[in-house]
Amino acid sequence: MTADALKLPGGSLPDERESVGEELRTVGMVWEREAIRFFRTRARILSSFIQPILFLFVLGWGMSSLVGTVAGFDFKKFLFPGIVAMTVLSTAISSAISIVWDREFGFLREMLVAPVSRTALVCGKTLGGASIATVQGTIMLALAPLIGVHLTTLLVVQVIGLELLMAVSLTAFGVFVASHIQRMEGFSVVMQLLLFPMLFLSGALFPLGGLPGWLTVLTRINPLTYAVAPLRHLVFAAQHMPPAAAAKFSSSVTLFGHALSDAACVGITCAFAVVFLVLAVTGFGKPD
């Protein structure tokens, strides 16, 4: 081949690498863009509350009469933490999925051709989406007094921490999925196929105890399951809950016959977050 004969002059130095400072600045900038875009679309902020509120009040009141009240504890109170999780889930996934738009409108290329690592881009995107989802989920807490759920400062701080962890895991998952969607049409399909099954099979809306075996398997591979259980336990712990109510509205997750502690659930959620982040980084922007 002539290529060998026509070698260009000049030594081959090693390639340059981004410094940690440059990478962190990139993470911050991608995060900032998510925030700017979020606050610019106020209509979307409001509309994203409509569905959870509808679920909380319509489903909550509707089912309350069926489920009944145990010592002043009703289905709405059971549902409330689940609705917070639902808000985090839908916001996280829809922020992550904006990558499909970025691809469609070309901005993804602007990011991918820049001399920055995919890790920095994915971390920025994930943290941005997760922050927004956490804010949205936390705003839902304002409805607690209407449901009769008692909040303490400590509870709110703990819930925010758990929301953030759950949101990172779910946004990273969304980024991973969105990286593999090439067209806009794929977007709504994925939303249908992911969002509602994840929601329904997470224990957010009803206890998972009575499901048939094959559905139980699905609930156990659903990352949301391991975030909903500790979230609900946190909220329940701050309520004055009689043992009869605690037994009726049980929401522990069992895995291979063992009831998981909240710490174990949080650990599993962390593990999901790490795995999804790694998957998101490897899949990001490919194939381009």
């Binding site: 081949m1 002539t2 290529a3 026509l6 070698k7 260009l8 000049g10 081959s12 130095l13 090693p14 390639d15 340059e16 690498r17 981004e18 440059e22 600045r25 990139t26 911050g28 900038m29 863009r33 700017i36 875009r37 610019r40 679309t41 970025d102 409108f105 070309g106 901005f107 290329r109 602007e110 990011m111 051709v113 820049a114 001399p115 920055v116 090439q182 194939p287 381009d288």
Partner: protein, 343 residues
């Protein structure tokens, strides 16, 4: 546009100037997609500070070459250096030193111009202390400073394109790559874009590598390479290329053509006599018109000077006009679809 003209003349072929350095250099660069050789043995160099154009029809391999130079597509064979770094072995180093403007828009139209630029500044590691100054400067260069805080969604196509060019310059790249920068713009906007590009070159001393299939745009380049079916068929300054094709021709219509032809031939001109008009061949036709009229010795009714255009050059080297875009069919659908997806 007058200053634009001088700008492009000033630094004719600076590559040949000693010590000016080489900004882009390739050796036998090649790339094939399946059965199709998109780029074949392409060898050229671009001097620092030059405006270098890749002229060719759609599908000639222009975009593939640019993508290889920008480290977006791995070279299939051969070598390329941009700003002194090897595109295959040191892609990060190359990317830090180049600006890119793609054929399609890559702005976030839900952000303002300033926010788009700020994002870019961070991703290209512009030191924080310089970001503000650079944003102001590049916006001034493309005359968009009064639209700085407007959402890009309110921009016209031409404004968005100029903002992208400004963005490409934000991190003071050594080489600015423009892939079909004016495609889809109206003639007036195209002229504006070109003013911007040439002003950038002059004020920022950047090397500009662009692809185009517009002949009139290739005229702005200091040097150009004509690419067809993946290979370079000619390289040179626009004037050099035109001279290779032939001299100017001056057509004269006179009151007495045979007499005029005799007089002109006696005066030493090379003349092709004709019934309706006579054609005189000359190196610099326009400047010779007064002397020709004098030498003709009879009343001259009309004069028409024809300089070889880049159209003539392209026709000469490829046997085709660039307008008939048959070359596009040279790439089978599948290969092109893949290339489109890769973008």
């Amino acid at each position: 546009m007058a200053n634009v003209e001088t700008a492009s003349r000033d630094s004719e072929a600076p590559a040949l100037r000693p010590g000016s350095g080489v900004a882009v250099q390739t050796a036998s660069l090649s790339k094939r997609f399946g059965e199709v050789e998109a780029v074949r043995d392409v060898t050229f160099s671009v001097g620092r500070g030059e405006v270098f154009a890749f002229l060719g029809p759609n599908g000639a391999g222009k975009t593939t070459t640019v993508r290889m130079l920008c480290t977006l597509t791995r070279p299939g064979g051969g070598q390329a250096r941009v700003a002194g770094f090897d595109v295959a072995r040191q892609p990060r180093a190359v990317r830090r030193r180049i600006g890119l403007v793609f054929q399609e828009q890559t702005l976030d139209d839900r952000l303002t111009a300033e926010q788009n630029l700020r994002f870019h500044a961070v991703l290209y590691h512009v030191p924080s202390a310089q970001v503000e100054e650079r944003i102001g400067r590049v916006l001034r260069l493309v005359a968009l400073e009064d639209r700085r805080h407007d959402l890009v969604s309110t921009y016209s196509g031409g404004m968005a394109r100029r903002l992208e060019i400004a963005r490409g310059m934000l991190h003071t790249p050594a080489v600015l790559f423009l892939d079909e920068p004016t495609v889809g713009l109206d003639p007036q906007t195209r002229a504006l874009v070109w003013q911007d590009v040439l002003r950038l070159r002059q004020e920022e001393r950047v090397t500009i590598f662009l692809t185009t299939h517009y002949m009139d745009e290739a005229e702005y380049a200091d040097r150009l390479a004509i690419i067809d079916h993946g290979s370079i068929v000619a390289t040179g300054t626009p004037d050099e290329l035109k001279r290779q094709v032939g001299a100017d021709t001056v057509e004269l219509v006179t009151a007495d053509n045979p007499a005029a032809a005799r007089h002109l031939e006696t005066a030493g001109w090379q003349v092709r006599p004709g019934e309706e008009r006579l054609v005189v061949f000359a190196e610099d036709g326009e400047a010779l018109v007064p002397r020709l009229i004098e030498a003709a010795g009879v009343r001259v009714r009309s004069v028409h000077v024809h300089r070889p255009t880049l159209d003539d050059v392209f026709l000469h080297y490829t046997g085709r006009q660039i307008r008939d875009e048959h070359a596009e069919r040279a790439l089978p659908m599948r290969a092109r679809a893949r290339m489109a997806r890769r973008r």
